[in-house]
């Protein structure tokens, strides 16, 4: 289990993981595996633990109980993983510089960076804002920039926390197209979303979380056509709130 240049972190396996925050149990003995393939979409009401699960799988939180392994290893630097937070924080630099920073942090060769910055800006539709201070961008634009930053790391696994939450329909479509494209390129996408339509469009596998536990999971068509559990039925009907 040597550290440098790992091919990928998959499968990511959480076994009986318990995570608390301020005395409150967020993840309640969760066991789940993310394997290579189609996108895994996490759904569930607010407070169900989607964000925490993403962070844990990214390696940002250590569980109070249970184990997390990346391709069998308990310790794995995040070289081939990337995450896009629900409320991304922009560095106090230009949009292009933000991406450049992510590239530098990921160890991209200096000569290649300008080209990659331009590519990534183009990919998320922010070419016109290259020199603009990132903090002056709108919420939606910042979210797109955050996605570009995540992609700059050339990840094998990409975690997305409600990436289209504050986007208009046009921008939402852009992001979803990108997600589809990178998934097609072989990158594993694990995404949390509020939007059931979006979940249907992009999955893969659906995982329903509620109060820190996996209620039901399975291929999307089956999940939506014939949900097995009562909670799943209620959730799809929009009646499961907390």
């Amino acid at each position: 289990m040597s550290t440098p240049a790992r091919a990928s972190d998959l499968p990511i396996r959480l076994s009986d993981v318990e995570i608390l925050a301020g005395g409150v149990t967020i993840l309640d003995g969760i066991s789940i595996t993310f394997s290579a393939g189609a996108p895994t979409i996490l759904i569930g009401p607010n407070g169900s633990g989607k964000t925490t699960l993403l962070r844990a799988a990214m390696g940002l939180i250590r569980p109070a109980r249970g184990r997390i392994t990346w391709d069998g290893c308990e310790v794995s630097p995040p070289t081939r993983r990337a995450i896009m937070f629900q409320r991304p924080v922009m560095l106090r630099r230009s949009a292009a510089a933000n991406i450049g920073y992510a590239l530098a942090a990921a160890g991209a060769p200096r000569a290649e960076r300008p080209k990659r910055v331009a590519e990534l800006l183009s990919l998320v539709g922010l070419d016109a804002y290259a020199g603009r201070p990132a903090r002056q961008l709108s919420g939606g634009e910042q979210q797109r920039l955050s996605l570009a930053r995540a992609l700059a790391r050339d990840p094998a696994v990409l975690f997305l926390d409600e990436p289209t939450a504050s986007l208009d329909p046009a921008a939402t479509k852009t992001i979803e197209d990108i997600v589809r494209a990178i998934s097609a390129r072989g990158i594993k996408v694990v995404m949390a979303t509020h939007d059931l339509g979006e979940a249907k469009r992009l999955a893969g596998e659906i995982v329903l979380l509620h109060r820190g536990r996996v209620i039901e999971s399975g291929p999307a068509p089956g999940f939506f056509a014939a949900p097995a559990t009562g909670e799943a039925k209620k959730f799809i009907a929009g009646e499961l709130l907390v």
Partner: protein, 230 residues
């Protein structure tokens, strides 16, 4: 410096004694501020970003030292540099370097305390993103200092303001020697004690204008820089 002329007259005629005094004031205070920054910013960053036993008392102490009385700083440095003190053989007493040392002692806590607060606040903001990007400790420090540079510049200006305004420390370690260690503030003190109040006030105004000018230059540099990066 002719005593019967007003400060304005001295400025307009380019009185060499006045310019020598202004030059010394700026050299001493600017040097002290820069050295204090070279010590204080990394120190502030270190305290901001590491967890160690006794961290809170250290922060309280550092904040308290911002209010270190100049005479106390001056006296302490004097006792160190006096011929009968530990560093007497360096022969630095009553020279400009001694004044720089005394002012550095005054200014370093200011810059360190403000830097610590600034960097810690920014760290709280950046922490998760930097962790997500796998940024290691060295790059982390450089990133925080760079991104916080404008607030850090303000901290430097606060330090410089303190240095340029004080007289208690430099008059003790410098001795206010005509032609060697006489600065704007010590000259103002001297002219006041000679009863030459109009000249003292005039020099005070000249000093204020210089400090305002430096503050304006710093602001201008910041605006220009903002336009290029953000």
């Amino acid at each position: 410096m002719p005593e019967n002329n007003s400060a304005l007259h001295l400025v307009l005629t380019g009185d060499p004694a006045l310019f020598a005094i202004v030059r010394l004031s700026l050299i001493v205070s600017l040097s002290a501020t820069l050295i204090a920054a070279l010590i204080g910013v990394p120190l502030g960053a270190l305290i901001a970003l590491t967890r160690f036993r006794g961290r809170e008392p250290v922060i309280v102490m550092l904040n308290a030292l911002m209010g270190l009385p100049p005479v106390v700083a001056g006296l302490s440095v004097y006792l160190m540099l006096s011929r009968s003190g530990p560093l007497g053989s360096w022969g630095l007493l009553f020279t400009p370097p001694a004044m720089v040392i005394a002012q550095t002692v005054l200014v370093t806590p200011i810059i360190a305390a403000l830097a610590r607060q600034t960097i810690e606040d920014l760290w709280v903001e950046y922490r998760e993103e930097l962790a997500a990007m796998g940024v290691g400790p060295f790059r982390r420090v450089r990133t925080l200092i760079w991104d916080a540079r404008f607030s850090l510049l303000t901290a430097l200006l606060a330090g410089f303001g303190r240095a340029a305004a004080e007289v208690g420390a430099i008059i003790i370690v410098g001795g206010n020697i005509l032609g060697f260690t006489r600065t704007m503030t010590t000259t103002i003190a001297l002219e006041t004690s000679k009863g030459n109040l109009p000249l003292a006030i005039g020099l005070g105004i000249v000093l204020m204008l210089i400090v305002i000018l430096i503050s304006a230059l710093a602001w201008g540099a910041r605006r220009a820089s903002e336009r290029f990066s953000g």
